[in-house]
């Protein structure tokens, strides 16, 4: 077998290729099609896998209801009418196309527990809570993690700092929500200094007054804490490796030889060059972060989509559940797309390689 000859490629193969220019049309097209592909695979998986097993969703749901409540009147008729209503007797291909259409229009029908309300209407009020929590948590965890990691990988970091920094990695391997349970116990039940659950107190009037804002922040501290403390170690470890690599680069040694100030070397020569692959890792880790924060919201009864998701699991509200799961997939893919599109703007050397390898 003849191997096509090709040079060395690093792990982050699909990103860097040194070439002049900013956002090129090919790059944007490639990234947008990747975005579509990701969403398509995600929603297809959630559509296909339940149908690989026996039976259709309606029968499954009904059987579960029967199991839970002992007896449901006219179960068979209800199944039949729902099947007709949702077109579940149609061939699989037709169902699938209709489903894709619904995903594109973001139409998931009605909530099963609060019937006349659209599933989307149930989810919408929860979105700002989740998005703001996620935005703050991911920015904090990434920036702290990158700084800690870069300091750990930098040869000139003072020894005392080198020895205390690894302490910040202690909680890295603990799932967010489990750390959440622990700090609820410590800070809310033992020390009683922060509220345990919820997004705001009931006795505070909602609106743009200082009392409400302070209250919201107080409620957000523990959930934020549990995500940031447990997720920053991952970025720190990656950044440490990258920084160690930069340490040996010629331009880095030259900067030191020129006698530039350590701060300037650290930020302008070190972090700035090492951060790009870390940013890719961040984009790829976004899915885990969003998935993990779902469980954090459940633990803290935080009024975001994660909590709505949990409520819908308990009440067997499948349309709301489907809405949120697909929403999470879309949000994650969009986040990655945004980072990808920002990538060439941050480092003008990099544009998308015109898939020469394929």
């Amino acid at each position: 077998m003849a191997l096509p000859t090709e040079g060395h490629q690093e792990d982050l193969c699909c990103y860097p290729e040194v070439r002049m220019g900013g956002l090129t049309k090919e790059y944007v097209l490639q990234r947008v099609s990747m975005w579509l592909l990701t969403i398509w695979i995600g929603v297809t998986l959630t559509f296909m896998i339940p149908r690989l097993g026996k039976g259709d969703p309606v029968s499954v749901v009904m059987n579960r209801l029967v199991q839970q409540q002992g007896y449901v009147e006219n179960a068979q008729q209800i199944i039949e009418s729902y099947k007709r209503r949702f077109g579940l007797n149609d061939p699989m291909g037709v169902q699938y196309l209709r489903y894709l259409g619904n995903v594109a229009r973001f139409d998931y029908g009605f909530s099963l527990t609060r019937f006349p309300t659209a599933a989307w209407k149930m989810v919408k009020p929860a979105l700002p809570w989740t998005l703001s929590l996620l935005a703050v948590a991911s920015v904090l965890s990434f920036s702290i993690g990158v700084t800690v990691g870069a300091l750990m990988g930098w040869r000139k970091t003072p020894g005392w700092l080198q020895s205390i920094l690894p302490v910040s990695l202690t909680f890295t391997s603990i799932p967010y929500f489990m750390f959440g349970i622990l700090i609820i116990y410590v800070f809310a039940f033992k020390l009683k200094i922060l509220p345990a659950t919820g997004g705001y107190s009931r006795d505070v009037t909602m609106g743009w007054n200082t009392e409400f804002i302070v209250d919201v922040i107080r409620h957000a501290i523990l959930p934020l804490f549990s995500i940031v403390i447990t997720s920053m170690g991952g970025w720190a470890l990656g950044m440490r490796g990258l920084m160690i690599g930069v340490n040996n680069e010629d331009y880095f040694l030259l900067a030191q030889a020129k006698g530039l100030s350590p701060a300037r070397i650290f930020f302008r020569y070190g972090i700035r060059n090492a951060i790009l692959p870390a940013l890719t890792a961040f984009a790829l880790g976004l899915g885990g972060l969003i998935g993990g924060s779902t469980l954090v919201e459940w633990i803290f009864a935080y009024p975001g989509t994660g909590y709505v998701l949990y409520r819908s699991i308990v009440t067997l509200d499948y349309s709301v559940m489907q809405t949120i799961c697909n929403l999470i997939i879309i949000i994650t893919a969009t986040g990655v797309l945004l980072i990808d599109l920002l990538y060439p703007l941050i480092d003008p050397r990099i544009t998308f390689k015109k898939s020469t390898s394929s």
């Binding site: 077998m1 191997l3 096509p4 090709e6 040079g7 060395h8 490629q9 690093e10 193969c13 699909c14 990747m34 990701t38 695979i41 995600g42 998986l45 959630t46 896998i49 339940p50 097993g53 969703p57 499954v60 749901v61 040869r155 890295t172 391997s173 603990i174 799932p175 929500f177 489990m178 349970i181 622990l182 116990y185 039940f189 440490r240 490796g241 160690i244 690599g245 790829l284 976004l286 899915g287 885990g288 969003i290 998935g291 993990g292 779902t294 469980l295 998701l309 699991i313 067997l316 559940m321 799961c325 697909n326 999470i328 997939i329 994650t332 893919a333 990655v336 898939s355 390898s357 394929s358």
Partner: protein, 304 residues
């Protein structure tokens, strides 16, 4: 050729002063491995000393605190919870259940990953492009969301089914890793030599390339196991896991839905969390230890 190899071997032997100098004796790796070994032993040997039937509902009195708290009894050393399960028995049954899911899912994912990754790296061309794009997209998909959507429809009958579904998200990491490794390895002299000697591709892959990837593969395996356990525990904690087998995530689910936090039943929610923290920390230490074994640069400056 043989002579050169011989002398370099001798030089290496001289430089490595004693057998304790092996990179495999990485402290992080060893500590992590011993934690996992201890945890696994607890699950494996536990049934010999304790009745695992007590892990099922209504087998014990309810709400007993642990034996060192007032009101506890030596019959249930770690206490019991509100549905009459013995906590010690639940841990003995739950720990292997959680480990098993992770190992099965990770082995499956690694198998697929190694196959696809080597095909992609080896063949190149459009096959490589397709595999790479698929792996990248799957990596982005938040597995938790898809898993919840799936688990809400099909009640997982047992842990094996759950592991199979988790494996669907375990392959992209190993695929990317193996692909990039194959790409760099195949430019090496000995691989070219093997190619020229008309060695069959499978033999090159498994006899020449694979041994060189071993530490990377091991790091990827431990990382994938802990990722799969994380996914399984999350689902179980939400109450979407297999309900027949008691697992650590399920204990957390029961304790949270019965508001054990408010009721001050620390002995209910804390033990499964501690067990899981040990499991995750063990695998995490193993992963970074193996990373350092694979990539000497990461060992930092003290050893350099």
């Amino acid at each position: 050729m043989a002579v050169i190899e011989n002398t370099t071997m001798k030089q290496k032997a001289r430089r490595r002063l004693n057998i304790w100098d092996s990179p495999w004796l990485n402290p992080k790796f060893l500590i992590g491995a011993s934690i996992i070994l201890l945890i696994a032993l607890f699950g494996a040997l536990g049934p010999l000393f304790w009745d695992t039937e007590l892990a099922y509902t209504a087998s014990s009195p309810t709400n007993l605190p642990p034996m060192w708290v007032e009101g506890g009894s030596a019959e249930h050393p770690l206490g019991t919870e509100s549905n009459g399960r013995d906590m010690l028995a639940s841990l003995i049954v739950g720990i292997p259940a959680s480990l098993r899911v992770g190992v099965i899912a990770a082995l499956l994912g690694m198998g697929v990953g190694v196959t696809l990754g080597s095909i992609a790296g080896y063949m190149g061309g459009w096959i490589d492009h397709v595999i790479r794009t698929l792996a990248d997209s799957t990596l982005i998909i938040p597995s938790m969301a898809v898993l919840i959507a799936i688990a809400s429809y099909i009640q997982f009958p047992d842990t094996t089914m759950l592991a199979l579904v988790l494996a669907m998200f375990a392959w992209p990491g190993p695929t990317r890793l193996v692909r990039s490794q194959v790409l760099t390895l195949r430019e090496r002299g000995y691989i070219r030599m093997a190619l020229l000697s008309n060695v069959p591709p499978l033999e090159i892959m498994f006899m020449e390339m694979m041994p060189n990837m071993l530490p990377w593969l091991a790091a990827s395996l431990t990382g994938t196991i802990s990722g799969a356990i994380l996914g399984a525990t999350g689902l179980e904690a939400l109450g979407l896991g297999p309900t027949r087998v008691p697992s650590l995530g399920m204990i957390i689910n029961y304790s949270m839905t019965s508001s054990a936090l408010v009721r001050g039943m620390v002995w209910w929610w804390l033990p499964p969390i501690i067990a899981l923290i040990f499991i995750f920390t063990g695998f995490f230490l193993m992963t970074i230890g193996l990373d350092e074994i694979a990539n000497p640069r990461l060992r930092g400056y003290k050893n350099a």
